[in-house]
């Protein structure tokens, strides 16, 4: 079964959205996306960690080492105010894009 590719640039958006509810560590983010998308979207670790670094660099998330329930150290990512703003902007763009694509597709059908 081939996995559908994520549209380029949407990964950042998905991560930011996932973090709006609560801070998560890397695995948690991947798991959340997988679950909520009902197994359709699987984030490869190879994309996840570079993406997290990118978000860190831009200052849209911040990272902290915290102790988990199993008494292990893990890095938790939190959404920042700038990140929230960025998420809003990206969501806007995404919706516009989808609407435009939909219009084209519907026109063809008609």
């Amino acid at each position: 079964m081939t996995k559908p590719d994520l549209l380029p640039g949407t990964l950042d958006m998905l991560i930011l959205k996932t973090l709006t509810r609560a801070p998560l560590h890397g695995y948690g983010i991947a798991l959340s996306i997988k679950r909520i998308s009902q197994d359709v979207l699987t984030v490869e670790e190879g994309s996840l960690y570079p993406a997290l670094q990118r978000l860190l660099l831009q200052g849209w998330v911040k990272a902290e080492w915290k102790m988990t329930e199993t008494n292990r150290r893990a890095r938790f990512y939190t959404l920042t105010a700038a990140g929230r703003k960025q998420l809003g902007a990206e969501l806007n763009q995404f919706h516009q894009l989808i609407a435009a694509i939909t219009r084209v597709l519907q026109d063809q059908d008609a």
Binding site: G26, A30, E45, G46, Y49, P50, Q53, R54, R75
Partner: protein, 883 residues
Amino acid sequence: MANSLRRLFHKLRFLARREKFDADLAEEMAYHRELKQRDLQEADPALTAKDAHHATNREFGNDLHLRDRSRDVVGFWFETTLQDFRFSLRQLRKNLGFTVTAIIMLALGMAASVAIFSFVDAALLKPLPYRDSSHLVGVFESVAMFKQSNLSIPDYLDWKKRNEVFTDLEIYDRRDLTLSTKNGVEPVHTGRVSDGFFRVLGVTPILGRDFAPGEDLLSAPRTTVLSYAAWQKRYGSSPDVLGQTVTLDGNPHTIIGVLPRDFHFVPAEPAEYWTALHPDGHCDLSRGCHGTYGVARLKDGVTLQQALANVTSIAQQLEHEYPDTNRDQGAFVAPLSEVIAGDLRPILLVLLGGAALLLIIAGVNIASLLLVRAESRRREIAVRGALGASPLRLIRQFVTEGLVVVSAGTVFGLALAYGGMRVLASLIPAEFMARLAFWQNLGFSLRVLAFAGLIALFAAILFSLTPSIRSAAPDMREDLAEGSRGTAGSAWRRVGSKLVVLELATAVVLLVIAGLLGKSLFRLLHVDTGMNPDHIATLMVSSPIATYAKEPQWIALNRLVREKVNALPGVTASGTTSALPVDGWGNTTWFRVLGRPWHGEHNEVTERDVTVNYFNTLGAKLLRGRNFDESEDKSKPAVAIINRSFERVYFPGEDPLAHQLSHLGQTPDPIQIVGIVEDIKEGQLDSQNLPVLYVPFNQNADTAFELAVRTSQDENAILPTLTATIHDIDPQIVAFQGATMTTLINNSVSAYIHRSSAWLVGGFAALALILSVVGLYGVVAYSVSQRTREIGVRMALGAQQSSVYRLILSEAGRLTSIGILIGLVLAIGAAAAMQAVLFGVRSWDIPTLFAVAAVLSAAALLASFVPARRAATVDPVVALRTE
């Protein structure tokens, strides 16, 4: 803005604490992996821990790659470049043989090209030190014998007045005068110019002024302008020099100015003092005596053709107005840059071409080395690819290595070039260097550096591309396999052998050119000069006009000099002439043959005023008639001796001795031809023999003459004695430029040019031969090493040693033959292009071509023999076992 700053800080922090970042990331991913594994096991309890572990790892992917990519996001862009750089250095150090060879070859090729180019640049490309030099032209009269001939002063004045194409026309002349110092007189080189000369060039003195309008008239006070070098050398750059007096040829001149440091005027160099015309004496005022050259500035919008047409029409007008003097005197105009360096252009281009060929060979050699190295790094590259390096990353690696080698090679190359320039400049004889002022301060101009940069760029592209071709399409599985031979060597064999053929061809071209130049030189030096140059010493003598004012004094002095010289021990004969041989065909006169119909034509012929015994001294052969007699002076009938070319041109099928000549005046003055001498090479060695008229010195004397002395002893040893003898007679007489006749011949301009180019190209050719033979050796040796197993199999199956030899040598022979063939064809083409530079040899000179082919074949055979022998002596068992 704030965002960029913040990002910068983030990156800097990462830079500072790289290890912590790595450790953190490793820990984070390890935790991620653990969680994943736990989930997998929960989902499928049947899964063993080990399987779960593997599954996780598989899904997780390449750990190192991940970390790399994460790092890439945060790191500065040059961090990976730094990494590449450090890695390159390590790799290059490990393969020191390759690195050093590549750097040396690049340095050599670059040094040769850059050094030669700097000479070419200084002579041909560098702008002249005058204002707007593209508008400056050289202005000449033109006669049948010399297309670029000198002007007479009255003609110059008329051309100046009547022309419509020049904003200004001035004249110049080179003069050897005597300078009076505390210790007596010494010869000095000067330039004699019209008053507006420096203004037409657009040159302003750095001190004082140049000549004012009218300052070149006879009535004006005598003034002089110093060259910068003279100001430094003789006056210690003192600012008080203005107003001081210097005595030139017995006349005091006031110093009025000093010229800029970078000023030079090659056609009149070397000149320490510049004086104004002051036309005086018989030649200056005579329209028929041509002693100066012109330089002019074109008006805006006037082309060279228009200027030529205009001065030609003026010359034609003067022909009508003054038929006695101006008949057949045409005009000629050429850009000043042509006048200055045009003669050198062909030979300089040949040298530059030779250096470029050497560079090509060096580059090809290095490319082959790189290919070989790429082959041997197959496995390393494959492993890196398997570990996750993208082809782009690998190519970047090669580019970095290439850049490191090129940078080192360039630095060494430039250093070598600088040394080479100094050495080459020091090899140029001082008199030539003094005249070719543009080569006096050779350095790295912008153009030269740009040229070196271009070479470095091409080298960098070559170095980076060559191994990248190989790695762009690697077959990983095959390369990783032990003992893989598959495509091994086939890329090398395809490209490498073509490279060697190219090298061999280039070496052939260089060898042929060097051989042809060498043969030209040989032919030149063995040209029949019409004399026996051994055991002849020469000296130039000039007596001051102040104390030797009249003709009887000149004749008496000349006679006295010869008597004293003849009395010296070892001297067998001596004589003087107005100009020694192997110099030029200048100093001409006009004549007509009495008894033939004459309509005013000017027959122009070279004239030499010689004493009795001059021909004996030179060892020239008197063909018919008699020599001059000492008593034959103006009181006796005029006589002359002609040379064989004169007879051939003017008396074909007749007896010259039965004829009389005359100068071109209203009343003919009959000159009896009394003898015919075999042609003496009065002009340059590579020039045609022209008619010469020899007149007795006693019938046409002068203050200056050139002495030739034949001695039975060493002619070098007698030179100081000759000078001393002259000074014994009168210390005020200037005796200078003493040299043996052999030296005059060997250091004549044409001999010098041919000799230096033969040596230089010979050097290039030798290097090229070595490099290409080494290249061939490399190809054959590598091919052998790749085919060791195949050879082992063959021998195990019963092949004889001789068949192995045949196998290897035939491949080498094939490459060599193709290379030589292509090379010979190209060489003939190249030689045809440089025919102007060759003397006495055809461009398709069979012996030379044959010799080059033979030498290269022998060298190639030797080079291939060694690996062939190694192949033939392979132990089949060993070969089959190892790889």
